[in-house]
């Protein structure tokens, strides 16, 4: 039977430290399409442009689980380059590693539920490591 991955295999590592109580994460990578269609063409043509990546993760507010990320965006004073983190999104023995800038942090609290923090980030520069 082919190997498959599920939610229990997922993990998030920030600056070398694995975060606990992660509920979910997602990652999106895209390549900009630069149009090179000339007036002699009959169909649109493209070449590869800039890559970009972004993602989000949700962490249960269980102990200090989301704090390493949440503290980068929910803070007093201005955000700086020092708030960028090295993030690894892993599943099983696979992972994607990159430098990330936290762009939003949302804390939600609801009766009968454990609090959770929703975090969004953008990838800064190229991916450092990819093992799909």
């Amino acid at each position: 039977m082919a190997q498959f991955f599920s939610g229990k295999d997922g993990k998030v590592t920030v600056d070398g430290q694995q975060l606990g109580r992660i509920r979910s994460w997602s990652f999106s990578s895209s390549v900009e399409a630069l149009e090179v269609t000339s007036l002699a063409d009959v169909a649109r043509d493209y070449t590869a442009g800039l890559k970009s990546g972004s993602g989000s993760c949700t962490a249960w507010y269980y102990g200090d689980a989301p704090v390493p990320l949440l503290s980068k965006v929910v803070k007093t004073g201005a955000a700086t380059d020092a708030d960028m983190v090295t993030m690894t999104l892993g599943w099983g023995d696979r992972a994607v590693t990159f430098k990330a800038l936290l762009t939003s942090g949302e804390i939600s609290c609801q009766v009968g539920e454990v609090m959770q923090a929703n975090l969004s980030f953008n990838v800064c520069g190229d991916l450092a490591e990819v093992n799909l």
Binding site: L34, E35, V36, T37, S38, L39, A40, D41, G49
Partner: protein, 132 residues
């Protein structure tokens, strides 16, 4: 003075104006207008070419064409491999000014905008001169 072929770079956008016929207009006090036609040939036609997301090497070819046209007071010729690409033969005759004898020269220096490593967008504005 000699004709210099425009480099073989296909445009991604193009606009053309056929220019005007030389004439003088006189308006009398009652509002009637008299038009004196001073010539039988058009002059100052305009051709604007866009080269979006072309390679930097092709952008350099266009800049070299600008130098070559100006250094020897030459003029530029277009054909289907460059400025008139995708046009019918009838329209290409106008775009290349092969039916009028107007000579294309650069109206302004080419504008080069770098968009990606190795890729640039160039805008070229030509003016058709009626040489004496």
């Amino acid at each position: 003075m000699a004709a210099i072929p425009f480099p073989p770079v296909l445009p991604t956008g193009r606009s053309y104006s056929p220019g005007r016929y030389a004439q003088s207009e006189f308006q009398s006090l009652n509002g009637a207008t008299t038009i004196l036609r001073l010539g039988s040939q058009r002059h100052e036609s305009e051709l604007s070419l866009d080269f979006d997301n072309i390679t930097d090497d092709n952008a350099a070819l266009i800049l070299a064409s600008y130098d070559a046209q100006n250094i020897g007071d030459n003029w530029v010729q277009f054909d289907a491999s460059n400025g008139t690409a995708g046009a019918s033969a009838q329209l290409a005759a106008y775009l290349g000014e092969t039916i009028t004898g107007l000579r294309w020269r650069y109206a302004d220096p080419p504008q080069v905008r770098s968009v990606f490593p190795g890729r640039s967008s160039v805008t070229v504005k030509m003016r058709g001169y009626l040489d004496s």
